[in-house]
Symmetry: C2
């Protein structure tokens, strides 16, 4: 077998043009490399570059002054060129467990790490990705536990007049029964994102698999929608194909998505074995998706028993003419009069939406509406949103 | 709404760190750009590079002499640096409709196009991707037609002792019925590939959606497996996480996958509304997947009525000790005595496996076994495999 494989390998290696040549000597340069002391080394071959930096969310941050106040920015890692033309950077400290993304700045131009095959698209930006095990990072990895199914599903949108795509997670065991019914979590993305965001950057299927396997979360269906009602699907997955000359974000905070949300609930309840009642339905989202979660739950107060606002874009929208955003005080009163099981707010201390969240909480406090509050380090970043999902999901449907 | 959006946008833009900053000025450089005359322009900013080339499967090829005979290689496109440090290359001719992948060679190091958000992973190699409409490329695009569902599903493998992942396409309408049953096509990847290969590089879901919508193919379930029986799933989707220090291909041509294949058929027939009989089952694959299709169909001659060998690695394996590869002549005789509806062989004129396919066809001819044969231009490349699927699928289950 070994001999056969080598013969075959050299056959394949020999003459394939531009297709499979990388199979057998794929990564002469190892990058990233997690060292035994927990630091991480990055390598990038480019003899002619004049300056290369690593920019990533595992690096230390510093505060800077901006015209609008203080802001937190990452301190880039300055790479050093060795005699072979390979740029090298090692973090000064052990990097704690988690999932991180990074890019190289090559004489000012940003690019992914060509030695790392793991790439995430966030909105229109590609970044290289890495996971450090041994802590919360273990939640983001595929573990040897029962796995749910992740499906890309098209539902007919009457509101839009065309089919729209969503990503649906059904928990392990769903396919093995024809009777068991499950609660549903609607999990919404942020501005510029799409129905792929939570499954790629957010690691939602790994988080749910692992929390459910550990007995920390109930088995549930998770529905990840596309918050831009005017779009069919994520870039490359719609009728525009790859012919996207430039990337523009269409208005996602004008009421169209929120007002059409009941058709999504109807589709899910009629195509999956859900428990189709308020007690078994949750909604949460990050940033614009938190804004969506806020207004969807307010406008359909009988639909959701659990609401999660992750770094939510609260405090905007009130000047919009859509009926969805009108009479917020009355809607809040109606919603909380029905005593939701959980109203959860999470935000980072340096998030640029911190102040508007503080104002929103003050409004809830003044009216005596109960909610749970979690304040993390850091800002408006995926590190926090994965963390928030990991904390929110275990509290659902108990 | 416009005003609100701009206010919100500047909020989001202002202080986000490394996360969503690309939303509003995502692509200052447009690359690739399909020009009105059908040529394509590529752009890459890198003032300090000394030489940059485009390498892609839309470029002309030339024959070169190698120690093992002639080989076909792509002629790289030499990019020219403008005064702003942007390297530019425009193809000399109109590029015909299709899907293509390319990379930049920057002073000898290969990288994706940082201005193009569409990236394909082929084995361990990342390439930028583009689609040219107006011909076969239209088959590879999401069109405004009913769409099937694409699911990543884990099945328990008794043969391996752990769960393994596969990708399952169910045609449009599958979810709207609880009675209709469908035929199944098993679609296998090549050496180094995985259960993602056909859905990303192969555009299988778009091809099937479009062929079915045009009435050219019957609605069918398509099952895309992982041909390495020792692996759970694609890189990054298994328990190794992202901690892959280097990429190694484990032996995929030693009989393990073929001998365990019945458990895949059993799982699919017991979890999907299939027509669970030979008349409604097809198998095909590219390269190593063609080799797998050959031996799976020979060893289970009552299972498949349609077999497709795409640039198949025929002519290897006979010296392997696995029972799967023994007594090929007897197995061929038994298989063809049952009169399969279609035995389809496709290969490119410059494929390095052309000669071994020619020998295999001579063997079939000598024994009088009927088959259909399609010879294309080009070699061992995805352009051909997408084309072959587009030609094979319409012939199934008629």
């Amino acid at each position: 077998m070994r001999k056969l494989f080598i013969i075959t390998a050299s056959l394949f290696l020999g003459l394939a043009v531009n297709a499979q040549e990388a199979i057998f000597d794929a990564r002469p340069l190892v990058s990233p490399e997690i060292n035994s002391d927990g630091t991480i080394t990055f390598r990038y071959r480019n003899p002619s570059a004049k300056a290369v930096q690593v920019i990533g969310d595992f690096l230390p941050t510093k505060e800077i002054d901006t015209p609008r106040g203080k802001a937190e920015v990452t301190v880039p890692g300055e790479m050093q060129k060795d005699s072979a033309g390979v740029w090298v950077f090692t973090t000064s400290c052990k990097v704690e467990s988690g999932m991180y993304t990074y890019r190289f700045s090559v004489d000012g131009s940003l690019t992914i790490d060509p030695s790392n095959m793991f790439v995430n698209r966030d909105v229109a930006t590609l970044s290289s990705a890495l996971i450090v095990s041994g802590g919360i990072g273990d939640l983001f990895k595929v573990q040897e536990v029962p796995h749910g199914t992740v499906s890309r599903v098209w539902y007919p949108s009457k509101a839009s007049g065309f089919s729209r795509r969503m990503t649906v997670y059904t928990p392990a065991g769903y396919e093995n029964s024809s009777k068991t019914r499950y609660p549903v979590l609607y999990l919404l993305h942020g501005a510029g994102g799409d129905e792929e965001a939570w499954i790629t950057q957010g690691r939602a299927s790994q988080i749910m698999d692992n929390l459910i396997a550990q007995g920390k979360a109930k088995p549930m269906i998770v529905v990840m929608t596309n918050g831009y009602q005017s779009l069919e699907a994520a870039p490359g997955e719609n009728a525009q194909g790859y012919d996207v000359p430039s990337f523009r974000v269409p208005g996602g905070m004008a009421g169209a998505f929120e007002s059409a949300f009941p058709e999504i609930i109807d589709y899910v309840d009629s195509h999956y074995r859900t428990i189709a009642k308020k007690e078994s339905r949750a909604i949460c989202g990050l940033s614009m998706g938190g804004f969506h979660s806020l207004f969807i739950s307010l406008n359909y107060p009988d639909k959701f028993n659990y609401v999660g606002l992750f770094s939510a874009a609260v405090g905007v929208g009130h000047d919009n003419k859509s009926e969805i955003y009108q009479n917020m005080d009355e809607k809040l009163s109606a919603f909380f009069s029905k005593k939701p099981a959980l109203y959860w707010i999470g935000i980072g201390k340096t998030d640029f939406l911190y102040k508007s969240n503080e104002e929103f909480r003050a409004k809830l406090d003044a009216a005596g509406y109960p909610y749970a509050y979690y304040e993390s380090e850091g800002g408006h970043i995926w590190r926090n949103w994965r963390d928030y999902l990991s904390k929110f999901a275990p509290q659902l449907f108990k």
